[in-house]
């Protein structure tokens, strides 16, 4: 027995130096490692691996490792695709898969406590038997763990309704080298909530040992349909319009022309190239065969992957229509209202019926089976998920696609849409050695940076994007490093991953040069870059001059308002601060938040707001002309009614309970935004209030922390609202 085995064995019940276990823990699913393996190069293996079973064991283990200077590599299910896990020679791998219970089900608040090593599919299966679901459904759900979802800021296929996994987590228990850390609603009063820093830290700060996550009832009703658009731009416009109209689709997937052609998704009329030359027909045949696993073994495909430039050039010539899959799910009374309202944005599209959408739903995890045959044939395949605002999205798509197309065959789809922007998921395959693989990534990541997007939306950073993420965050990394110093002073946690040691080449962005209080208005992404110290009234007036108003109205200057904002008040769809530019005392500045829900490491905006002087804040706005609807209902229990409606999936911009001072009946008032408002009011039996009453939404409140306040927002209350004493 080795010394590490003996010592660790005194803390954790199971530890091994068996080469079989070390080999298995030597890699995650990073395509680079797989490519090396295909070329006969084994991954590095750790010194030992252990399987803790309790939080306390982990705390003791990390305490020992910190004193002994032993690097710790956390390992969940090893499904990461960026090299974020996997042993290095001198490390101790900590495998969390023997911590995999559901420790508590709280139906009252729709919260579930789960341990990190549980596989995603197992969690959903177990919850389903209780009538519950997270509806977090990444394509890796069969092979990824819950802890990994949080550590790398995972996103699922229904994220436009339910949010990313980070939006579902309301609290965590974390073992760090300096002890236990509680986050979210369990974080100690008066202290900074480090939840946003832990999520996305990829095991470099500590090991998550328990998560408290939001759940929903298993959806009663689902509506899925496919549409063909004449081109990518018109389809993206429809997606943007739907997301900005508060219609909350669960599924919104747009395939680019090449991806649309695959498998003949639009039928025989899918491409414009029919009737063109032999090359086009051959290309079409290849693409349309790619839905079939057998095609991945054909010689034809070998040739295609070896000549990516030619294939991509032919693809560019296709132009062609694109496929959009849309879906809503939830309450059978609410979903039809949302669907009906969305039809107004689909006028230019061809309705392809439900079958293609249901086919996608049925086979939504099958795409991963196509990876192995490509590696088996000596090629490589990989995916790249980037994100940006709507304004920068299409240019970024073209820049990144062109960068990739120089080296590999590339196709893509747009999913994970937000009111402010969207993610693009590039899938590429090619032939060649590790140098070609590295060059492909290097050029593509450079294109993302130049296009102003984030280098990762939900796969995380690992080793693959460590340099790019470091560059993207610039001086904001000081925020992370300060917390790293505090939680892991010895630097033992997953060393070498997530970020590199390099410092930014310059001092960061210059202060805003335009005149405030509104520095810039991105009307396409519904984002305003504003002065953080301007008064709300001045901001409101300036926005109104442009035809916009706050989505979430502040009640004091933004800087103070945001500092007081409790993260628990986050509705998954209500983001009070999108981007932030702030200056440190030494004159260096940082700007972060250029894309929705970046997974380029932790969310550092809140720490940056605390540690540097904000110069500009990017906030969500809504057009003054946006349809809105105020409705109310007389009820002796406004908060019970509010909770029922929110739990059914209604997403009002705000809801307010009011009691009658003269013994009259209490009322619940709701402000609904978007074209579905009127039909929702009718379907739910609410009383419409004259349009003139529908003014700006009321300031948001945190229902958990301020139970006596009378206004709550969106789905936050769905999970956290208890019984307010004054209800």
């Amino acid at each position: 027995m080795s010394s590490i085995e003996r010592i660790v064995g005194g803390i954790v019940p199971r530890v091994s130096t068996d080469p079989l276990h070390l080999l298995a823990a030597g890699r995650d699913l990073w395509s680079r490692t797989t490519l090396r393996l295909a070329n006969g190069l084994l991954p590095q293996t750790p010194a030992a691996i252990c399987w803790p079973e309790t939080h306390q064991q982990l705390v003791e283990l990390l305490d020992w490792a910190s004193a002994a200077g032993v690097p710790i590599v956390p390992y969940g299910a090893g499904s990461g695709v960026c090299g974020g896990s996997g042993g290095r020679e001198d490390s101790l791998v900590v495998d969390t898969k023997r911590m995999r219970g559901i420790t508590r089900v709280d139906r009252e608040h729709m919260l579930v406590h789960v341990e990190p090593g549980m596989l995603g599919q197992e969690l959903e299966d177990r919850l389903e038997r209780l009538g519950l679901a997270t509806r977090h459904s990444p394509s890796s759900i069969w092979c990824s763990s819950v802890g990994g979802w949080a550590a790398a800021r995972s996103a699922g296929q229904f994220s436009s309704l339910y949010g990313k996994f980070e939006d579902m987590v309301v609290a965590m228990k974390v073992a760090t080298p300096t002890g236990t850390l509680l986050t979210g609603m369990h974080s100690p009063p008066g202290q900074e909530d480090l939840g946003p820093v832990i999520q996305g830290s990829e095991g470099t700060l500590g090991l998550i040992t328990e998560l408290c996550i939001r759940v929903v009832p298993v959806p009663e009703h689902r509506w899925l349909r496919a549409y063909a658009f004449p081109d990518l731009s018109s389809a993206l416009e429809a997606m943007r319009a739907i997301m900005q109209a508060d219609l909350w689709p669960a599924v919104m997937r747009l395939y680019d022309p090449v991806d649309t052609l695959i498998g003949g998704k639009l039928g025989s009329s899918g491409g414009k190239s029919s009737g063109k030359g032999h090359g086009h027909r051959a290309f079409l045949r290849i693409l349309q065969s790619l839905d079939n696993l057998d095609a991945f073994r054909s010689r034809e495909l070998n040739l295609a992957f070896a000549l990516p430039r030619l294939l991509n050039r032919l693809a560019a010539g296709l132009g062609g229509r694109v496929l959009l899959i849309l879906g809503w799910e939830g309450d059978p009374q609410i979903v039809p209202c949302q669907v009906q309202a969305a039809m107004g944005f689909l006028q230019g599209a061809q309705d392809l019926g439900a079958a293609p959408a249901h086919a996608w739903y049925q086979h939504r995890h099958d795409v991963s089976y196509k990876l192995a045959p490509i590696f088996s044939r000596g090629g490589f395949a990989d995916t790249m998920e980037v994100a940006s605002t709507w304004t920068r999205l299409e240019p970024m798509y073209r820049m990144v696609r062109d960068a990739l197309a120089r080296n590999v065959v590339v196709m893509s789809h747009f999913s994970h849409a937000y009111p402010e922007g969207c993610s693009i998921y590039f899938t590429f395959a090619g032939t060649g050695d590790i140098h070609r693989y590295d060059r492909t990534w290097e050029e593509a990541l450079r294109a993302v940076r130049l296009a102003g997007g984030t280098v990762t939306h939900h796969h995380g950073v690992g080793l693959l994007k460590a340099r790019a993420a470091t560059r993207e965050l610039g001086h904001a990394l000081r925020v992370y490093r300060r917390r790293k110093q505090s939680l892991d002073p010895g630097g033992i946690m997953n060393p070498g991953r997530l970020f590199v040691a390099a410092s930014p080449a310059d001092d960061g962005p210059l202060p805003p040069s335009s005149k405030g209080p509104v520095f810039h208005l991105d009307s396409k992404s519904l984002l305003a870059t504003v002065d953080p110290v301007a008064s709300p009234s001045a901001l409101r007036e300036a926005l109104a001059r442009e035809g916009y108003t706050f989505r979430i109205p502040p009640d004091r200057p933004l800087k103070d308002w945001l500092l007081a904002w409790n993260l628990l008040a986050f509705d998954r769809h209500e983001v009070p601060m999108f981007g932030l530019q702030a200056r440190f005392k030494d004159g260096c500045s940082a700007r972060i938040g250029m894309a929705p829900r970046s997974a380029a490491g932790p969310d550092l905006r809140w720490g940056l707001l605390r540690e540097a002087e904000p110069e500009a804040v990017e906030i969500p706005v809504i057009p003054l002309s946006a349809p809105r609807c105020l409705a109310s209902m007389a009820t002796p229990e406004p908060w019970q009614e509010a909770r029922k409606l929110l739990r059914r999936g209604l997403r009002p911009l705000s809801c307010k309970g009011s009691s009658s001072p003269r013994g009259g009946q209490d009322r619940l008032s709701l402000l609904l935004l978007g074209p579905a408002g009127d039909s929702l009011v009718e379907a739910l039996g609410l009383s419409p209030t004259p349009a003139s009453s529908a003014k700006d939404p009321s300031p948001p409140r945190n229902p958990a922390m301020h139970a006596s306040e009378d206004t709550i927002r969106g789905a936050t209350a769905h999970h956290l609202l208890g019984e307010p004493e004054d209800a």
């Binding site: 079989l20 276990h21 080999l23 898969k97 090593g117 596989l119 192995a372 045959p373």
Partner: protein, 302 residues
């Protein structure tokens, strides 16, 4: 068809969530992809072959991964082949003689009298075949041990119908292409296989695996022989996933494995005979504080 070992090695572990061993043990090395990967590397000369053999010995050949796999890779068979290549053959216990001349033979792989119970139920004599190693289930990888065992078994049964309640024994009988009936009364553990219905015995149709339960208890095959601790983990996991605390079981190994985990066990012979006392199907508390589901009448009971 590409090398299936290679396919599994490069697959992003898409079947790990259905593999009972991987789930129960939490071992990365016990995922079907890792087991197949070890064999793939050994075949390429990149890994010590004995490690590949040990990796393959973690498979119970329950077939859950193959049923899930879109490529339908026969992982269990391939790992059996790997074991025959990388592990030394293991000799089965000598088969005991069949006791009795009746046309039906109860295979008894534990200490209970299945033959007597069946005889009472069928109101006719039932012969008995006792086996202490599940008819040599863990010795089926190597042709040099499997084939003589299959021949001996065929001679021993001599056209008679074997009746077993154990998946490991049923696996040997299936492999030997002999007539058998599997009483499959562990719907919460074993994946039912098609049941040979004899003209005189009408048994209930094979039930589906209960939701959330595991397809294999791993007590009868190579896993229990090679990795007793892992087999124990698997038994424990099986027990924790059954929807009620009353666990009908007839496999003594499984019974022993479950004993430390405070699980009530009663004899399925009682069920078979229609004598299972309802009072014995009591409810308990399952993990997570949720009320356990009430156990429905067992499939397979006449």
């Amino acid at each position: 068809m590409p090398d299936p070992y290679q396919t599994c090695t490069f697959c992003p572990r898409l079947c790990r969530h259905v593999c009972p061993v991987a789930l129960a043990t939490g071992l990365e090395a016990a995922t079907p992809s890792a087991m197949m990967g070890a064999v793939y590397l050994a075949r390429r000369g990149l890994l010590d072959p004995s490690l590949a053999g040990r990796a393959a010995a973690m498979c119970t050949a329950c077939g859950a991964c193959s049923r899930h796999c879109k490529e339908q890779v026969p992982v269990g068979d391939l790992l059996s082949q790997a074991r025959s290549r990388y592990l030394p053959p293991r000799s089965p216990e000598a088969l005991a003689p069949v006791e009795g001349d009746a046309p039906r033979v109860a295979v008894e792989c534990d200490t209970r009298s299945w033959a007597g119970a069946l005889a009472r139920k069928l109101r006719e004599p039932v012969a008995r075949l006792h086996t202490s190693d599940h008819l040599g289930a863990s010795c089926m990888d190597h042709p040099q041990t499997a084939e003589p065992q299959i021949s001996s078994l065929a001679r021993l049964l001599d056209g008679r119908i074997a009746i077993t309640s154990c998946s490991a024994c049923a696996g040997v009988l299936r492999r030997a292409n002999l007539q058998y009936v599997w009483l499959h009364s562990l719907p919460g553990i074993h994946v039912p296989t098609p049941v040979l219905d004899s003209p005189t015995m009408k048994l209930s149709p094979a039930p589906d695996l209960l939701p959330g339960t595991l397809p294999c208890c791993g007590q009868g095959g190579i896993l229990a022989r090679s990795f007793p601790q892992l087999a124990k983990d698997l038994a424990r996991e099986c027990a924790s996933r059954l929807p009620a605390t009353a666990v009908p079981t007839f496999d003594s190994l499984f019974r022993v494995a479950l004993t430390p985990y405070d699980v009530d066990i009663y004899d399925p012979i009682d069920i078979l005979l229609g004598e299972a006392p309802a009072a014995s199907l009591h409810e308990g508390t399952s993990k997570g504080g949720e009320a356990p589901q009430k156990r429905t009448p067992l499939h397979g009971a006449p």
